[in-house]
Symmetry: C2
Subunit: 162 residues, 2 copies
């Protein structure tokens, strides 16, 4: 089976797929009398005209490595941001589009304090915490329609430690 | 000095001030082949016409108990949601409005997995993690204007363990 090695999550590597939501570089401004740094507006939120942004919570079972990847999905009507409500790293799987189907997947491992925002229409794996069953706040489109396209891979991949 | 005892954070107690963002009760739906519970649309996001929702990250120093409360603030043009990027509990201070100024404050302590959404115009304290300096994802209004009203309390309060 084809193997995909996990890469460290960086905003540069992830740029073709979305945004890394993290306190990186210089703060946009200092607030609260200098006690708090604000890093502003880190994710491109992009929803169709019938949808609006909402905040939900997902509670997902964990996966273990090596992880069999046989399904990818995308949201044609709006992107999706995942904000872990814990400091546990999690696995992020994405793929470029190749003529309407997923191309070669890539897998990234976050560090504590990182969230991700999948841009609208980007192929990605389902939520895959690694350490334990985990809670995530999710900012995505609330609106009519399923906003979901799934693609089952004829030849699955094995996601392995980098 | 007047003391305020910290209460447990519950959606019922917090209702006059905003939303508790958590996986509580029955999931809205099961996704990812039953591996993930989705609790949908848990926060009222309310921004004026010139603003839009954005995701930012705040990194705040911690406070210790007893905590001296001498400043409250509110955002007239849009609410503000705080989603901890760790499992550390944090302190949430709010106050009802009393003729344009804060009434008697209340203080709540979250449990792991809880975020909060301050409704537009609700008086609240600045970010107060208790355990250590902490990261929070923040969903709030991105737009023109300061969207900030501060009120320095003539008679401060001491926030003490419940």
């Amino acid at each position: 089976m084809r193997e995909i090695r996990i890469e460290p999550m960086t905003s540069e590597a992830f740029r073709p797929f979305g945004d890394v939501i993290e306190a990186a570089g210089t703060a946009t401004k200092l607030i609260n009398g200098g006690r708090c740094e604000r890093f502003s507006d880190l994710a491109r939120l992009d929803f169709d005209g019938e949808g609006r942004a909402g905040i939900s919570v997902f509670r997902s079972e964990a996966v273990t490595l090596p992880h069999l990847l046989d399904l990818l999905e995308r949201h044609p009507d709006g992107g999706q941001a995942f904000l872990p409500l814990s400091a546990d790293p999690f696995l992020v799987i994405v793929a470029p589009d190749d003529g309407g189907r997923p191309g070669l997947p890539r897998a990234f491992l976050t560090v504590p304090g990182q969230g991700v925002n999948y841009h609208r229409g980007v192929w990605h794996g389902v939520l895959t915490p690694l350490v334990q069953a985990s809670l995530f706040a999710v900012v995505d489109r609330i609106g009519p329609g399923a906003n979901l396209e799934e693609f089952r891979l004829a030849g699955p991949y094995l996601i392995v430690a980098g």
